[in-house]
Amino acid sequence: MSRKILIVLIMFAGLAPAIAVFGQQPNSRNVAPSAKAEILRRGNFVEHLGGDMRFADAEAIASAAVADVMGQPADDNHKFFITLITQRGCAPCARLKADFSSDKHLQALVNTTDHKQSWAHFNLYDAADKSQSFRWSKVQIKGYPTILIQPPRNGKYGDSKIVINQLTGYDGNGEKLFNAIAGSIRAYVAKQAQKQAIESGAAVGTPTNRYGVGTPTNRHSNQYCQAEVDYDRTPSDYLAPIGVDPPWSPRPKNEPPVTPSPLLPNPSPVGPDAFPFPLDPDAKPDAKPDVAPNDAIPQYAEVVVIQDAEAKDEDAGELVKFAKRLRHKRSGMKFRVLDWKEASKIYPISRDELPVAVVTSDGKVESKILGRLLDVLNPPAANPEQPSGQGLETFPVSSLVALLSGGGVGAAIPIVIWGLLYLRSKRRAAGQQVIAPQIDEAQFGLLVNAVVSTVLSKIPALQKPAETPPKAS
């Protein structure tokens, strides 16, 4: 028995280093191996990053650096939240943002340049920013700008989720807005104090007497941008988050200037009359945050590589490279990779076409490039001893086999394209006239592919019924 235990221990001792190595991250990735040494060298050190030091002199930089090597900032979980949701191209939104930085009344509530000096936490959100839209799943946005006021995080004034007030629109009067915000906060605090006093059994006067506020009847009728929330669509499945584009449209770094428009003195009120909510407080919006993708083809130009995640297809990798080259040739074109299960809900493709690259623009499919055509479109590098062009070595044998075994018209496409390219290269080599001599073989192949695909798609008898994607488990 003891011998068995000894053998087990020896085996484990032998395996332990292997397990350790297996679990370790590669050295050139993640936290670099030099990081540990740098952490030791830095010691107990706090570096404050990201301040705009471009215009500061050396002394200011040095003093800022010294000042920053201090302890943590003071707690700020006692601050109320003032959240501004705006829409791009909305003049009142732009005006309100500017006024939060310049109006003396609003600056009493918010410091937009130094959040530590701000009385309230001020957050600015772009309605079109898909990465933040989940936050508004339980509120109803009726127009822009929208201002939400919430209690502090520390719970002193109740649950920080509570919407104390929601204000929509801005008529350019900062003082009026300040009164609306401050008034609703005062009313809320008074009510909370009253509740707490009642719970503790103390006798209290009316909130009005104690806090000098009246009944909450603030209303903020003003100019606004009607709520036409046109969120950017989000890619459905981030099979390739290593792509070069963010998977959403982030808030612009510098917003384009907004065309000035006259501020209307008495526009129609956005919501009902009653304070505090122009909404039904009992409304139960969807519990699930709305980060689901749209099921429409985007308006912008895009090349989408669609592959079957369950099948390991070598053509998919080549198609991704091909699509990236295509993307670089067309400025502004986006690129992403999708699984067929998701993509089949959006694009007119069938499973036997996979992998496939779909080029879209203006909400329409411009062309489809089948992965199995890549061998034909991208012949191997030419041997310098042989004349360049389409050779017999690129003949799509697999398509011939598929055709002979009843693969349908789709299997014949690669053969047709190969034949055309073969004839073209032979004619070119012989110095004879060829069709579209100004374009190269690969572009000619793409052109033929587009033409053949379009022609075939117009013949209903040749269409295979679209395969229904399997339901997700």
Partner: protein
């Protein structure tokens, strides 16, 4: 005999994972961050960019696009990929004008508590040569919640001892964005009644 070996191997592999259990829900009163799992999945670690994944997750939580887009080319700057170290974080944060605290040394524990207490996440050293996102902390039980960018759909739960081991394994280094925390998910309630 083979059974004993298998049991031993399974036990040893399990011991490598310090997580006590997995928190599956997206919301928890002790979470400082409140991102849906689909959004966290944007920041899964594709190529050894764990530091940028962790900072990016904090960036999207605090609505700081310059930090949220670290992994990708955008108007805020070119993508930052691959392994990182405090000096590199300083460089790209300054270049993108991301205001952040880049903290090394013994004080990281207090900073992490400060971040969670005030509604912020933190990118923290967690595990050998690895960075993860500190997602929350329950001060009463000293339980820590961490989102690993290798499995971003779930939140790992650590006891204080396990969390200490996790943090020390990478060296004491923490990055906290210097921006206001996000508001709690707003809800309508008839507070005036």
């Amino acid at each position: 005999m083979p059974c004993a070996i298998i049991c031993l191997l399974v036990a040893s592999l399990l011991s490598l994972s310090p997580s006590l259990s997995l928190a599956q829900e997206d919301s928890n009163p002790f979470y400082s961050m409140d991102l849906p799992s689909d959004l966290r999945y944007w920041y899964r670690n594709p190529d050894g960019s764990c530091v940028q994944c962790s900072i990016g997750m904090c960036g999207v939580d605090q609505n700081v696009p310059a930090a949220a887009t670290l992994l990708w080319d955008s108007e805020y700057g070119p993508r930052e990929r691959g392994g990182s170290y405090p000096g590199r974080v300083s460089k790209y944060c300054n270049s993108r004008q991301i205001k952040a605290y880049n903290i090394t040394g013994k004080e990281t524990w207090d900073w992490m508590r400060w971040a969670c207490r005030n509604g912020r996440g933190a990118a923290i050293g967690a595990g050998g040569n690895h960075f993860q996102t500190l997602y929350g902390h329950d001060p009463a039980t000293n339980t820590w919640f961490v989102c690993n960018n290798n499995s971003p759909r779930k939140i790992d739960v650590y006891s204080d001892a396990a969390f200490r081991r996790l943090h020390l394994a990478s060296g004491q280094w923490v990055v906290i964005l210097d921006y206001p925390p996000h508001p709690s998910p707003p809800e309508y309630r008839k507070w005036w009644q």
